[in-house]
């Protein structure tokens, strides 16, 4: 087991710390609130000589991801960080990264998208690129942000898929917490040397990368990408197991919090899962069997596993920190419902769209969701979609 150092860190500091210990070959980044600190702190590590990284300060996020692709394609271990509009500007290039199967790791701080302009947390940015072929891992707190970053490098390079680790803007990114960090050498051992597959600077085995791929090959390459995403589920679990063996903390595709005997449960991602656990504990003290399914891995979506975990729970609600603006549910609810449907589990699953633009989600808000679930257990039907905490 690794030696552990207890420190106080914000989510951004924790992610930058993980990047220092990983010591990537290249970081290309452009600043954006609330993710700026991650690469700003990392840039100071570069100038202080604490890492060997080539830091590329570019003029936009589009360029940041493009530079990351160049670096990763050449064979370098490559990382970056961004948020919101920055991720949106990267979107075009995110698809290129996954199509070329480049294991870039991105520290993404969840923030609302304009318009109206807003710098606070919701999951709209990450959800916008949910089909970009990137593995997406959500964190509940700074500790998970750190642990997920350490695991992400190994996951990305084994799966040959780019991976983003997300935190919640300001709530995690700027919230100071007690976290446990590992010794530099233990992180170095854990991530290991970069696994080089085919790369452009390999003079022994020249390749062409990113050639025009029309009607007769594009479909096959996209099918390969889909298969890589399916396979990555086991890779994520394997890496989590190695992580637990070395560092002691357990991770899965999701966390089942008091689900075993629960009659009602909330499915939620990110920092709100922590709040939901507090509410569930409070309800349990009153004899109400409440649980939380905290989804960690949104891509690949653990469909069968989520359905299995929810099948015996009488009433399930989903809390979505983004909206599809489709006239019905948010993205998480759509996935959860599809999972239940395909496992022949018929349930009323109300969706609660909450916290957009950093709107505070209070204990009472989550209590009201559990109360609705109690009503469903009592045979009362609820609205399919509720905008939780919005002023009427």
């Amino acid at each position: 087991m690794s030696k552990i150092n207890v420190v106080a860190r914000t989510g951004n500091e924790a992610m930058a710390e993980a990047m220092r210990q990983i010591n990537p070959d290249v970081v290309a980044a452009y600043p954006i609130t609330p993710a700026t600190e991650i690469v700003q702190i990392f840039a100071s590590y570069v100038s202080d000589g604490l890492v060997d990284t080539e830091f590329v300060p570019v003029e936009s996020e589009h360029s940041a991801m493009s530079a990351c692709i160049g670096s990763s394609a050449a064979g370098g271990r490559t990382m970056t960080g961004t948020s919101s509009q920055g991720l949106a500007l990267m979107a075009e290039i995110l698809y290129v990264a996954s199509g070329l199967r480049l294991p870039i790791v991105l520290a993404e701080v969840n923030r609302a998208l304009s318009s109206p302009i807003n710098i606070h947390c919701d999951h709209s940015d990450t959800m916008m690129v949910r089909d970009a072929g990137w593995i997406q891992i959500f964190s509940e707190n700074a500790q998970e942000a750190y642990d997920n970053m350490v695991q992400a490098v190994k996951i990305a390079e084994t799966a040959a898929l780019p991976t983003m680790v997300t935190t919640d803007g300001f709530i995690i990114s700027h919230g100071m917490e007690r976290i446990e960090i590992f010794e530099d050498k233990d992180v170095k051992d854990f991530v290991g040397p970069k696994k080089l597959g085919q790369y452009l600077l390999n003079l022994e085995k020249p390749i062409t990368l990113g050639a025009l791929d029309l009607q007769d090959y594009y479909f096959e390459h996209r099918r390969q990408l889909a298969e890589a995403m399916i396979d990555s589920k086991n890779i994520i679990l394997d890496v989590a197991k190695t992580f637990k063996d070395k560092f002691g903390r357990a991770y899965g595709l999701f966390e089942s919090y008091k689900l075993d005997d629960a009659d009602r449960a909330i499915v939620v991602m990110g920092s709100t899962a922590g709040t939901a656990k507090v509410v569930a504990d409070g309800l349990r003290a009153k004899g109400i069997k409440a649980g939380v399914l905290k989804l960690r891995v949104f891509r690949p979506f653990p469909k069968a596993e989520v359905a299995e975990a929810l099948k015996n729970i009488k009433a399930v609600a989903v809390m979505d920190r983004s909206d599809t603006i489709s006239g019905h549910e948010g993205p998480l609810a759509l996935e959860v419902k599809a999972a239940l449907f395909d496992s022949n589990i018929k349930k009323e699953v109300p969706d609660y769209i909450f916290g957009l633009g950093g709107r505070e989600v209070r204990l009472e808000d989550i209590e009201s969701v559990y109360k609705d679930l109690g009503d469903i257990i009592d045979g009362k039907s609820k609205d399919r979609v509720t905008y939780l905490g919005v002023r009427e």
């Binding site: 040959a160 050639a211 096959e220 390969q224």
Partner: protein
């Protein structure tokens, strides 16, 4: 529905839009979508090879420091060679592909 083909399926293709091996551009004949072609006028040519320097497709064939021919398999007909030709009155002129093909036929007869 699906045409019978020898092309590899997704399971056997190299991962991630990779083409293995170098120099694959050679296999891609870019000369078949030309609308104009450069034609050499030998009596005006001073063999300065400015055309060879400027050609973006390496479609100028030379030997012993002299212009020999255009490689029409790769020449896209961009016209840079004709534009850059420093000879007064030009030693390279651009001719429409339609016209050139008509002349080819006449020559063959």
């Amino acid at each position: 529905m699906a045409e019978k083909t020898q092309k590899p399926g997704w399971k056997s293709l190299p991962k991630g839009d990779v083409i293995e091996g170098g120099g694959t551009a050679r296999e891609f004949k870019t000369g078949d979508w030309r609308s104009e072609r450069p034609v050499h006028i030998p009596e005006k040519c001073i063999h300065c090879l400015t055309c060879w320097i400027y050609c973006p497709d390496s479609a100028i064939v030379t030997k012993d420091g002299k212009f020999v021919a255009f490689d029409y398999k790769y020449c896209k007909g961009c016209g840079i060679c004709a534009h850059e030709c420093p000879v007064k009155g030009k030693a390279i002129k651009m001719v429409s592909e339609k016209e050139a093909k008509k002349n080819e036929k006449i020559c063959q007869k």
